[in-house]
Symmetry: D2
Subunit: 364 residues, 4 copies
């Protein structure tokens, strides 16, 4: 349930931001797949704090230790458990916050749900530190997908930071185009503007939101289950489960809802060069029709709110309901978007693998 994601390929996670470790258990991974652990490390490095000047200063190596389910890095079919140590913990930063409901954080909701017993150090379980474990589950899912569907590619990148938005891309960006900037926007010029915006916002002690876009190319047709397990519904759930996500849209999204049908029709045309023999003239639907993949690029965007932690004084209340002033505390990201990019890819990979496995089960 709550700490488990997925049905046939599942990830169960555990651990708190300032606990000994965070970790997870991957269940349902097919046997006989050689895991590239270097690639797992690379993905974790893309998410880890301290990776660049524009992200949180917390220093975590985020080295993953596998506890089970692998022999010589080959999957055995048994559950794959892993842990990542928390090494740079400064719980003292939170000492004077234990009693406070920080604005925009999960302090109040966790306090009520768990009647004050929840771990509050560094945000405890509600911290985005949990997403490191998703990156592990997602990278293994991606490696399984590479066996099952070799032409499937998942690529996310920064679409906007604050009011700076990259226009639609002509083609799928490469990994190196995305990684050329610490912001992870493949547009060189805009990525500099975004970086500057983050630096300036940080100097002002403020924070800023943004949007991640993700493209899944080469997905087989018919993935997703009607009625309630639509690919669109599953992706929405996966993405909205990421910390700070407040919005999700597919293809033309909200903008398309202001238009007429004649402006966004997805006419099919013959195309012998396509593996399907046909393709849509445009892709307003974002690769999903009737809740299933139609073989076009699956395109979706996730909006992340500005980080709730800021270096400004904020007025709020404590557990007794009394007004208190919160001052600068902890280490945080001025803009979470650059680090959310690999998490979005991870959630997409797990969602797709799970639905592809379910689809395979019923093939005669």
């Amino acid at each position: 349930m709550n700490n488990t994601f997925g049905t046939l390929y599942s990830l169960t996670t555990f651990g708190e931001s300032h606990g000994k470790v965070i970790g997870g258990v991957i269940d349902g991974c097919p046997a006989g797949i050689k895991i590239d652990t270097e690639s797992v490390s690379r993905q974790l490095a893309r998410r880890r704090p301290g990776q660049s000047a524009i992200v949180s200063k917390r220093q975590e190596a985020d080295k993953v230790i596998f506890l089970s389910g692998l022999i010589d890095n080959v999957t055995t079919g048994a559950p794959i458990a892993f842990v990542i140590e928390n090494t740079d913990v400064r719980s003292a930063d939170y000492d004077n916050l234990r009693d406070v409901f920080r604005p925009g954080h999960a302090d109040y909701t966790y306090y009520v749900k768990y009647r004050g017993y929840n771990d509050t150090n560094g945000g405890g379980r509600s911290s985005a530190r949990e997403t490191a474990t998703r990156v592990v589950g997602g990278e293994l899912a991606r490696q399984v997908l590479a066996c099952l569907e070799p032409s499937l590619v998942i690529r996310a990148y920064t679409k906007s930071v604050g009011n700076i938005t990259m226009p639609p891309l002509k083609s799928l960006p490469t990994d190196s185009q995305i990684e050329q900037s610490p912001v992870r926007c493949p547009d060189v010029s805009l990525s500099r503007d975004m970086e500057r915006l983050i630096v300036e916002t940080c100097k002002e002690g403020d924070s800023v939101g943004g949007v991640v876009e993700c493209i899944v190319s080469g997905c087989p047709v018919g993935i997703g289950e009607p009625i309630y397990d639509k690919l669109s519904a599953r992706l929405a759930s996966a993405m909205m489960s990421i910390n700070a996500a407040k919005a999700f849209e597919i293809g033309m999204g909200f903008d398309g809802c202001r238009l007429r049908g004649s402006e966004v029709a997805d006419n099919w045309i013959s195309d012998p060069s396509d593996r399907r023999g046909i393709r849509t003239a445009a892709n307003h639907s974002g690769g999903i029709q009737g809740g299933m993949s139609n073989g076009e690029d699956i395109v979706f965007r996730i909006g992340f709110k500005p980080t709730a932690t800021m270096m400004k004084e904020m007025e709020t209340v404590n557990r007794q309901g009394d007004p208190v002033t919160v001052r600068a505390y902890g280490r945080h990201d001025t803009c979470i978007v650059p680090r959310a990019v690999p998490v979005v890819e991870a959630m997409a990979a797990m969602t797709l693998l799970d639905l592809i496995l379910i689809d395979r089960a019923r093939h005669l």
Copy 2:
């Protein structure tokens, strides 16, 4: 799985657009609740085709027949099965479409997934006709919620049609304010503009999209389960499972992601008049923090694409991949938004009831 929604309170649906019946099975409904079947009929009437001049001309009474689980309309704790007859079926309208992949529809994806065995009459299982069964499941959930959480109110309405958008509301609109117009926008003046836009678009043989907004007032604090069953994730999944939904956002949504943290901070303030003793000064978070309800109004929006069916000729292909022209066919809604309003409320009610039941289980 695919045709079942929910964990402790679940709805399993069946039936095709042009089959004998559509129907569902509600499981997990607590015993001893007196069901107001008039209210179920009223909700179905809000969704049914033929209800006004601006919706599909298909005439369906949408009378629900309960088959089990009730004695004198009181729930027994057993599964509640029900059917709704399909009476105004014109499958002949689809005779020349059996072989065609209509643009923007699920024809191609269903064809591939089910290898051509799926029912195509009237869209078969992919038709929005299935949403009538959700309205039944949702209205019963609402009546259970009225027992468990008497102050909880769920209210959806049309936020925008095409490029006409209602500004933020000052307070929760009443049912009669919403129902004063066939468009279901509580702003009298704008609802007329929207109605006019739909009528004109219809005359042009075109279609138009729009946005539904939903407010849940009076939700208890701490509803939603971390990490992957967040209230935000569950609502996103529920809403994106509705036909034609392409976008979802909570609170400040995508717009808030262009702003700075200082602009959207949700400071807590003391308020002895509030049941919680505190409240947020603003509600940018839309009632959800850390994935759980914080007691503020839960506010979310769903974007619906323009109806894919139009009264214009459209170029597309058939199953053989050959180009074909699709002409006007069937009966449809120029804008699905007015009829989506009760469906959004139904999905919200089922989502909240399910998560509230789960939350209650672990209270000591």
Copy 3:
């Protein structure tokens, strides 16, 4: 949950013993399978009351009406809903029982769980009438299995009635051997003894228990998921969910637990004529090792208690806790075992199909 059985192939059931109908929804059935509805009727006839002199006199035709999911009896991939009418209902028989906790029945447990709101007519939802819907779900599962695993055969029969027990069979009995007697024991001589015992017990106003044995031949190797979804665990759960089941065992069962390891070892031997190239010399394990099928015949037995309803006076209490005498009432089976045989086969078929689908999902 409670009224749904299965994961990838699932059956959700509804309806009460004396309600309008009983029915179910089968979800996850692969598309393109031609359903033999005659065969469904034949299986229902094996379970229906009134089929012979030794079973309940209630007369039900048990004609199944499919509501969705089929076109010309071919599965479309959509959920398959069906109903069976209750035609021979005599709720008056239960009028003076509404207030009584009958010995050995579910009256008290349902009363407490549902606070008196449950339907008590004819046992309501707790009646074995529900098992008719399992026969439908099971027969469709068997027909899907016939496509996926043509050599797989499921066959159950009466192993014992009261203290009359059939010795181990030398080979899989045929359907006609099983059906030669209304008792469904393939041993002609013993089946007559069992029949006589049932008739005599009935005359005495008493009831008697018995055991059903089931053999699954031709199951592929490796079906069942470690650790908690073992084939043995899933079969146990499926069988113990049948009304009146009190005991379950695999292979050598309880008797084998009194023996030494050297007496029950399942040595493997080479056998080029076997599809596996090897087989076990004996099959004490009953076809399941480490929780998975090993390709030998899967053999298990289910013990059914004597019917709780008898034509004798019984002392018990009513809802007020006062002593009352229950007299002969309703119509019932002196021994439920003959009619349980097709239900056991149905549950076995659904269990195996579900696990086989899950297994297929992860094949590379």
Copy 4:
């Protein structure tokens, strides 16, 4: 799925017999419960190898290390992850077995299911070493139950070893009566006979099976969900998932199925001294009627087959299908029953807690 047990209170396990660690993640544990870790250690000590002269000589301290979910041993509501180190690993014992399908073991079924990629050292994932993690999950469940249902007691003990069977008990045995003997049979005299039988069987290089009986006293009425999640079905599944379990029965079990209804009727009688005001005169039903607890003692038995490993030469085949002779290897239990006792209690505790949580959710 396969490595996760339970719905609202769940345990996900990982780790192989000869890997670094075994471990688990407990999810859904209510917050605010003080865990008695000494009691966890005591339960693990009852299961650990090397605890007495009649069990496996493998020496494991089985010290549990909690990784998350606790602050000062109080549950926080977050998932509780834990590991237990494997310290006394002699994989060399298995070197010449890697290629062999041992009789009665999971070697062949795992080999086929995982295409040879599974870990075979010490039985890998199929080893009963995994049950140590169940003891942890079960003991925490028991401690939660102690808060929710203080009068509920779960007690298992050895009912039979080989052909030595203890007659029915007059009353619930105490922990010390059970622990007085390494066999865990509360009958002092019979426990000596059983111990002698195990020692002699061991000397002969043979093994022997047996039966564990478990009594749950003080369970609330109405626990268990109809139709497919009956308490009887869930207990059956839980118990049959334990290594070497081949049989399961409730109350009068198989023996009762040879009797007449008049011999096993469970008449209700008034009893003002009982919390229910009534009770059954006898308890043939074993505390479960209609699939739910009726407030009587829940009584069930599990049959465990003789250990497949013996100190005798056994004829079998290898992966190539060639005949091979397996000689004495590894360390093992002559009779698994004494160590299965705490595992049965653990599975019972988790099953009951899960169903009690589900039941609580729907109480109005």
